[in-house]
């Protein structure tokens, strides 16, 4: 009797395990798994709103924040995630990875913030230290561009990962010049405008975040990609037309519920500045974004070769974007990037 009961128990567990494994696989195949390189915050609202709209059109989407861009890339290339948010130019060039970008979500917007007690112009920074995110990062590339643009040479580039850490170090006086994101730039320059200021940074339109996926996923999940591209484009255009709508949408859709209600004012302010600076391009980047990225990445040494000789097709899959543009039309806009 005991033996029979034991047998039944083992059989039940085996069936339950097999069924749950099958259900898990099926669910994983149905769901589009999106990987971001940082915890989700106010600057991700455009993407999150777009995903909610895509869900309403029948897609299942699951967003997982990771620690850094390279972990996101690992997850995509190993098939554990489907869509990455970041950029994979270097990986595509170095590893010949079968990965393509398909939508420019956000342009690079880092601002050269200085302690005005020490520096007032770029010339003052000649022979001085500057803190950037890390070696090979976008902020280092921006600093290198400024060196050549203003004919100066920094004494040393110190690497301090994270805008929030650099902002704290600026407050503490550990660093006197750095690149910060839009939120932290505004935070420092508004809380102590006598001490902190932004140097003129000129115009650049390289990418900060692009959506990318493996070529297999882009082929196999064409419909899902089309829906996502359309909805992200729609959300970006809506944000550009009415930046104040983001806070209301966040409340309506119950997004980023863990953030306090008082952050709505911050959200509106961020998106108003983002709209003015054109951080969220309404046409999804495409060929223009790729060319700007090639120019920026080769001049800063992050990509090898001549920008003009790089083939867009090796880095981008333009099909989904062109389809969305054909359906939704092209929007002409002129922006100027500024922290204020």
């Amino acid at each position: 009797m005991k033996r029979i009961l034991h047998g039944i128990l083992v059989a039940v567990f085996a069936v339950a395990f097999t069924l749950s494994l099958g259900a898990f696989r099926a669910a994983a195949q149905d769901t589009v798994r999106v990987a971001t390189a940082d915890t989700l915050g106010a600057e991700d609202l455009v993407l999150l709103i777009a995903f909610e709209k895509a869900k309403a059109r029948g897609l299942k989407i699951e967003v997982t924040p990771f620690k850094s861009d390279d972990v996101v890339f690992q997850a995509i290339v190993n098939g554990q995630m489907d869509i990455g948010v970041g950029d994979a130019y270097k990986m595509i060039q170095t590893l010949k990875a079968p990965i393509r970008h398909f939508y420019q979500l956000r342009r690079l917007a880092y601002f050269p913030v200085v302690n005005k007690e020490y520096y007032k112009t770029w010339k003052d920074l000649d022979g001085e230290d500057i803190a950037v995110h890390s070696r090979g990062s976008g902020t280092e590339a921006l600093a290198r561009l400024m060196e050549s643009m203003h004919g100066i040479k920094f004494k040393r580039m110190t690497y301090v990962p994270g805008s929030e850490v650099r902002a704290i170090s600026m407050r503490r006086g550990n660093i006197k010049a750095t690149y910060l994101d839009l939120t932290r730039t505004r935070l420092l320059t508004t809380e102590d405008p006598e001490r902190f200021g932004v140097l003129p940074a000129g115009n650049q339109s390289a990418s900060d975040e692009i959506l990318y996926a493996t070529t297999d996923f882009l082929k196999e999940s064409e419909d899902a990609i089309d829906i996502i591209v359309e909805e992200v484009m729609r959300a970006a255009r809506r944000m550009n037309a009415d930046p104040t709508s983001m806070a209301a949408e966040r409340e309506r859709l119950d997004l980023l519920a863990e953030l306090p209600k008082e952050i709505n004012e911050e959200i509106t302010l961020y998106h108003q500045q983002a709209a003015m600076a054109g951080l969220f391009p309404p046409n999804g980047g495409g060929k223009g974004a790729a060319s700007a990225d090639f120019e920026f990445l080769t001049s800063s040494g992050r990509l090898e070769g001549d920008a003009k000789s790089l083939d867009v097709g090796e880095f981008w899959e333009l099909g989904p974007l062109n389809k969305a543009l054909a359906k939704m039309g092209y929007v002409n806009v002129e922006y100027s990037i500024s922290a204020r």
Partner: protein
């Protein structure tokens, strides 16, 4: 007392001769130890090479590609520059722990009151996940060398202190009684009996502390500011130069292994000469 001493001597000599016989039997049947060690390394590197050539992942380089990157980084001076930046906070942290930590542990072993005050804190420090504490250190001490030294100290101090403390506490009570019966004072008790008895364990604690220090400096360089070897790992990972990233990781593993092996052999030579070099390889 006399009989017990004789038994002990006999026991030790029997164990010693048994080990010698076993070793010579093993070397006759199985061949030299180094051959087996070489075989184990070749197996691991062979599997690594095959896995890299399949490849199991685009980001997984082969063993030969990693070796090539390793030599390239030696020749272009990457390692020299990186270690010039990694070693100062490591050495400072280890020096602090070597003097301060040992003194702390000895004092804990000698004073009940000090032991009760410190023990719970040390146990918490030993069990706490340091990776979670590192950001707090950054907030308090900023991003410069001080923070890195603190991480090294936090990682290695509990090991050194607790080993020193246990070494002091495990002093043979009969030796202490002997010292007292010879009218030895407290100072003589400490310097002639307790410290010489505990020195083996204190040294073992130092070795473990240095191992903790290596973990600490890599954590600090990965989590605080990417400098030195942490910068090599971060930069090559972000640039998709995975063979170089693996080479950087391999370099710190080789460096810490060599340092600890030298220390282990030194420990055996000074405190446990009866074990010889063989035990140094298997311990």
């Amino acid at each position: 007392m006399k009989t017990r001493k004789t038994d002990k001597t006999v026991g030790t000599s029997q164990i010693g001769s048994g080990t010698k016989t076993d070793r010579s039997f093993a070397s006759v049947v199985l061949g030299p130890v180094w051959l087996w060690q070489l075989l184990s390394l070749c197996t691991v590197f062979g599997i690594w090479e095959i896995a890299g050539r399949i490849p199991i992942s685009l980001a997984f380089p082969s063993f030969t590609a990693t070796c090539a990157a390793f030599f390239e980084m030696i020749m272009d001076g990457s390692f020299a520059t990186a270690y010039a930046s990694t070693l100062p906070p490591l050495i400072i942290g280890i020096l602090i722990v070597s003097f301060g930590g040992v003194a702390w542990g000895v004092f804990m072993g000698l004073s009940r009151g000090f032991e009760w005050t410190c023990m719970s804190l040390l146990v918490i420090l030993q069990t706490a996940p340091v990776a979670a504490i590192v950001p707090l250190i950054t907030y308090a001490y900023g991003i410069d060398m001080t923070s890195k030294v603190i991480v090294v100290v936090i990682m290695s101090a509990p090991l050194v202190i607790l080993n020193s403390y246990k070494g002091i506490r495990s002093t043979n009570p009969s030796l202490l009684q002997m010292c007292r019966s010879f009218q030895g004072n407290r100072w003589q008790e400490i310097t002639k009996i307790i410290l010489p008895q505990a020195s083996g364990m204190i040294f073992a604690g130092l070795r473990l502390g240095i191992s903790g220090g290596f973990i600490g400096i890599v954590l600090a360089e990965l989590l605080i500011t990417p400098t030195g070897i942490g910068d090599l790992i971060t930069y090559n990972r972000a640039s998709a130069l995975y063979a170089h990233m693996f080479a950087a990781i391999a370099s710190i593993i080789i460096f810490s292994t060599l340092t600890l092996t030298v220390l282990q052999r030194l420990e055996h030579k000074i405190f446990r000469p009866e074990l010889g070099t063989m035990s140094g390889q298997v311990n």
